[in-house]
């Protein structure tokens, strides 16, 4: 008997283990979440421990508009995936473009905020513990937004060229999971930095 004997031909058994892309992305999200947790813990631990100013109360203002943009981009990316599932490539492109635009607005908001903090308030990463933890946490999140935007732009590019088909919807869904994660992290970062920390 060879290994052939191990497969006694009963192929009628339904065997559908979870898709590897989804499993892989969930694992990546867990690992990324662990990294964020550590930065958030450091942020919370150092709230109010700076030896010198400026303090968050002096310089931070709530980024309400850009936050709304980022959070609503979760809905648009979801709409893009649904559209692709229904094989509506054009609608998918439209939603992807909206997502990239909303993400871009958020990133521009962060850039503007940082410019203001650095040049008008003199807060840099080496100013005090607030600067250290603020720039590293918000910067880590912004880095993830940038990575997500690059991937979404690629998807948009493929979609516009008509190379994104119905059978790619699982791959787009994996990417959308990442984008949802980036948004969810922002909720936590927002609460910690702009609500709790201020």
């Amino acid at each position: 008997m060879s290994d052939v004997a191990l497969a006694p031909g009963s192929t009628n058994v339904t065997w559908n283990p979870p898709a590897r892309g989804i499993v892989g992305m969930v694992c990546l999200i867990i690992a990324e979440a662990a990294i964020f947790v550590i930065f958030i813990v450091a942020y919370i631990y150092y709230i109010g421990k700076s030896l010198s100013g400026p303090t968050p109360k002096d310089v931070l203002s709530l980024p309400i508009f850009t936050s709304i943009c980022l959070l609503s981009s979760s809905l648009t990316v979801h709409a893009a995936v649904s559209a692709l599932r229904r094989s509506q490539q054009h609608l998918c492109s439209l939603w992807l473009a909206t997502t990239v635009l909303l993400g871009g607005i958020f990133l521009a908001g962060t850039a503007h905020e940082w410019y203001d903090l650095i040049y008008n308030h003199g807060l840099t990463i080496r100013t005090n513990l607030f600067g250290t933890t603020f720039y590293s946490l918000v910067g880590l999140h912004a880095t993830h937004v940038i990575v997500g935007l690059i991937l979404l732009s690629l998807a948009l590019w493929f979609s516009l060229r008509g190379q994104m088909q119905h059978h790619h919807s699982e791959k787009l869904e994996v990417l959308s999971l990442y984008w949802h994660f980036v948004d969810a992290v922002w909720v936590v970062v927002f609460l910690v930095v702009y609500v709790l920390g201020r």
Partner: protein, 578 residues
């Protein structure tokens, strides 16, 4: 012997093997560098780890020569501090992790009846980035302009407590090599762990439900899950350290109000689960090897799975037992005492289940089994000294002493390395198609056992006599010399035994008798294909109906599936054959 069903050998791969011999070495090299085959990547992981095992073992020997007598000047303090930093970092990140991932890479797809890992290219990427990390660390010996000029290895200890790692106390670049190499390796580690999880969840062959998954993949699943939540914090802490050193931020800058203790928390949130990340694969090997050579099914499969998952979870809440002496206060200390002691319960369950597997079996003392029994005995002692260290007041005395060094070497060498040797003797025939010499193996085993016990039994003693770890020399009046002399002599015996093992691996590759597909009369899927397996693993995707598919095949009258599944849950097997 039991009714042995001969499995046809596949001829194709051996022809391919001969062709490889005729290829130019450049082609062979190109083949290995560009491969995405899980078996080749697994072997590269193992080879890479063995290389660093020899390097870090050599570092240990240098340290033992230095410590053999008091006030020795064999190496300078600067060199010694670099040696223990490199030894610890190398053994954990460039021996322990890669060798375990190597075996996982090689075995998991075979054991679950898959043709490759879930993400073969990610697999290759993870290996190469980890490998680069290791060589980057060692490049510091050439390029790391540290405190003492060019060529200084990092000397901050493998847990690199802040603020010793700050620019002020560690000028130059040797600490940067350490940080960067761990960052890179961390990325590779997360990549491979992710791959292992996705493979086990998504690539199982038909019929292999989670409750039929062999214990080795099960434990690798737990270990990989633990890797995400443990290596993440390490990566985060390394990023913070880089920011401190390069951009002048203040995470661990005590002058600017930063906290040194925060680093300790972050490091040990990684550091303690890391111990379980390393030891769970050793358990995984034991779960496969002990049953086969006892000729019995593993006792208490569900309990073993539950205990492993339990260890995984509890191990996340024990980190501050490394910090009983930093002044956390009685309430925190008490919590971590309880959590640490609690982990001994699932660990005990494992030991008892292995004993119960041996009980009533027909134990074959192959070299693999001898190492596995050595593992059981030494892991028991390591666990008991672990309980001693979990008693916080006792730890106030024992912490950071040679007792601790002895304890964790009992885990890392006495348990993990012994089980790794066992795994080599067990799976070498599958990997190469040739048996390892049992005669040389017995020499290897006994020499290593003697060397191990000379070194690490007696290493507990200077700890009890007040000898702290990480000192490059010690005073003559403390009564530590005789013990250090014994420890050092044992280290030499271990080195000889390890060389014997390497020799055995080389000589057996060329001269060892042919193994055939199933030399141990074992039960899991990797033994259903030829040795070495073809690049596609299985000609047809296998389908299983129990945890021991080859047992079912060999005993069609009394298959496992009768006992494992179904609402009856009959655990006690009747002797049908009798």
């Amino acid at each position: 012997m039991a009714t042995h069903i001969p499995l046809d050998e596949m001829h194709a791969p051996q022809q391919m093997g001969e062709e490889t011999h005729r290829k130019l070495w450049l082609e062979v090299l190109h083949d290995w560098v560009t491969t995405v085959d899980h078996k080749k990547i697994g072997l590269m992981y193992i080879g890479y780890a063995l290389f660093f095992l020899v390097v870090a073992g050599f570092e240990a020997l240098l340290m033992r020569i230095q410590l053999a007598v008091p006030n020795n000047s064999f190496v300078s303090p600067e060199v010694f501090n670099g040696l223990f930093t490199m030894h610890g970092t190398t053994m954990v990140f460039f021996v322990g992790m890669p060798i375990l991932f190597g075996f996982g890479n090689y075995l998991i797809p075979l054991m679950i009846g898959a043709r490759d890992m879930a993400f073969p290219r990610l697999n290759a990427f993870s290996f190469w980035i980890s490998a680069f990390g290791g060589f980057l660390l060692y490049y510091s010996y050439i390029g790391g302009s540290g405190l003492y000029g060019a060529g200084s290895a990092p000397d901050v200890g493998w847990f690199a407590y802040a603020p010793l790692t700050a620019r002020v106390f560690s000028p130059g670049h040797s600490t940067d090599y350490w940080t960067l190499s761990l960052l890179l390796t961390g990325i590779g580690t997360i990549g491979t762990a992710l791959n292992i999880v996705a493979t086990i969840i998504s690539m199982r062959c038909p019929g292999m439900t989670m409750s039929r998954l062999p214990l080795l993949p099960w434990l690798y699943l737990v270990t990989s899950g633990l890797t995400f939540v443990a290596v993440g914090p390490l990566t985060a802490a390394q990023i913070m350290l880089m920011l401190d050193r390069y951009l002048g931020s203040h995470f661990f800058d005590t002058q600017a109000g930063g906290s040194a203790v925060l680093w300790m928390h972050f490091f040990w949130i990684f550091g303690h689960p890391e111990v379980y990340i390393l030891v769970l694969p050793a358990f995984a090997f034991a779960n496969e090897i002990i049953p086969v050579f006892s000729r019995k099914a593993i006792f208490g499969y569900p309990a073993m799975v539950a205990a492993s998952v339990g260890i995984g979870f509890v191990s996340l809440s024990v980190w501050a037992h490394h910090m009983f002496t930093v002044g956390l206060g009685p309430a925190e200390n008490t919590f971590f005492v309880l959590a640490t002691m609690a982990i001994s319960v699932p660990t005990g369950i494992k030991i008892f289940n292995w004993l119960a597997t041996l009980w009533g079996g027909k134990i074959q003392f192959t070299v693999a089994m001898m190492f596995a029994i050595g593992f059981l005995f030494q892991f028991l002692i390591a666990g008991l000294t672990g309980i001693m260290l979990s008693v916080a007041p006792f730890d106030w005395q024992l912490g950071n002493s040679y007792f601790v060094v002895a304890h964790f070497h009992y885990v890392l060498v006495g348990a993990i390395l012994f089980m790794l040797f066992s795994a080599f003797y067990y799976w070498y025939p599958k990997i190469t198609g040739h048996m390892l010499s049992e005669k040389l193996g017995k020499w290897h085993f006994w020499l290593f056992v003697i060397g191990f016990h000379l070194t690490f039994d007696f290493m507990h003693v200077p700890g009890l006599l007040g000898m702290p770890r990480r000192i490059y020399t010690y005073e003559a009046d403390r009564g530590w010399m005789i013990w250090n002399m014994i420890i050092s002599s044992g280290a030499v015996v271990q080195a000889v035994a390890t060389l014997l093992f390497v020799y055995n691996m080389v000589i057996s590759y060329f001269k060892g008798p042919l193994a055939g597909p199933d030399p141990w009369d074992a039960w899991t899927l990797e033994w259903a294909t030829s040795s070495p397996p073809p690049s596609y693993n299985f000609a047809e995707t296998p389908e299983v109906s129990s945890r021991r598919p080859l047992w079912d095949l060999k005993h069609p009258d009394d298959p496992d599936s009768d006992y494992e599944s179904g609402p009856g849950h009959r655990r006690q097997a009747k002797e049908k054959s009798a």
